[in-house]
Amino acid sequence: MNIEKIRNDFPILDQEIYGHQLVYLDNAATTQKPQCVIDAVSHYYEKDNSNIQRGVHTLSERATADYEAARETIRAFFNAKSTKEVIFTRGTTESINLVASSWGNANIGKNDEILITHMEHHSNIVPWQMLCERTGAILKVVPMNEAGELDMAAFSTLLSERTKLVGVVHMSNALGTINPIETMIQQAHNVGAKVLVDGAQAAAHMRTDIQALDIDFYATSAHKMYGPTGVGVLIAKEALLNAMPPYQGGGDMILMVTFEKTQYNALPHKFEAGTPNIAGVIGFGQAIKYIQSIGLDKIAAREKVLLDYATTKAQSFAGLRQIGTAKEKACVLSFVLDGVHPHDLGTILDREGVAIRAGHHCAMPVMQFYKVPATARASFSIYNTEAEVDALFAALTKAKDMFA
């Protein structure tokens, strides 16, 4: 794999920060965008900008065709059964909120149980807490071990006929852990529970076959997989979506409106009220094509080599404590350094051109588990290099010396 060639696809990487070559290691927050995605978004605004699904003129027909083509690209990438099951949203957070509101309000009652895990992002905790407050349902949490792996025995024990939904993150943004969702889905289905998989972090790094895994609800965001911000997807089984009430009312989601009654539109439009992020969806489709042009399996293999390289360096770095050492993990090196607070690390590294995240990563319960207020997190992507990992550790040495 030619990493230099891949780097050239990302114009943003070619810049200096405070006199240093930019080293972008905050990919778990958002990835950079290849030129082809930027071009697809520009092309829409330069040539095709118009509203979709209703125009009779040429621009609208072109824009609609490109928007729907993106839906098919995304369906194929995740192997969903039908484009009717592919709902565009603002991102993972909105996708989860859609399920918690629409499916949750219709299907969850007092003393029903929602089972999530200790390593969920706030976006897969708070919507369920809100649902529990509305309905009197009970939120249960699967614990994890010191390595940041789910306690699967506890998971089996916590599952029961009262469990109506299991919400699980495919890959933890704070720890890098890849969860055994296949087993979890099987076990959940055995007790009749539905499963929502938060794919925001995993989607760019590993294959997700929605039909093979038998996922009921799958949520992910374009911007963590080289696509634009503000757009994502909910992929859900057609039968579930058909039975769910609409999430938002408005234009595009209707067939017929009178003041007495509204007849809702068919899937997927029933859940896409209002003018969507058309350019974003088109850019999302292009981002998927970009991943396919390299090959997701090749990406995963290359990223593992880089993570192993960084992990080895981390293990021999005095005073560094890794947070998250699961056997199955990808692309995330989360850590604390003796004597230097993560935010100071973030500032010092920035002045060396190295962009990392410092904070709670929207996973405060994970911080509470490890009894740290925050961690520093370097997260990798397909365009990162061993030289960049070296730059990270050189900057860490500098930070350590400053507080020595």
């Binding site: 607070h341 935010h343 100071d344 904070g359 207020p373 400053m402």
Partner: protein
Amino acid sequence: MFSLGDLYKEVIIDHTKSPRNFGKLDPCSHDAEGFNPLCGDQLHIYLQINADNIIEDIKFEGQGCSISTASASLMTQALKGKPLSEYERLFEAFHAMATAGMEEEPDQEALGKLAVLAGVKEFPSRIKCATLCWHTIKSAIEHDDQPAITE
């Protein structure tokens, strides 16, 4: 261009490593908690203010970065044994320093030792770290029921 040294001055590193007036004050007349929701920093400030409005004692505890710890440590030093009017004056002076334009020199006379934190204004994402303790003491003294946040 400002360098890291403008932010991480020796005094700041020193106060980070050995914060002054660190710990709990029990009993105390005033206390409050402060949070920086962005980064999870937590601070608890305790004050003993007497009938003559003198800050007889002040302590802080919590978890935070170098800038928030040093800022709290320096604040307690500046206010211990001082009248409340001194708190009001320094609060204004510190706020003015943190939000001043890049070119403006800090008012050494008004700020005293606190002027070492003037470098934060060059690091916009870190200003809230420096001001957290001041927001927290404000809510302690004004008996605000809500914990102070920096947003």
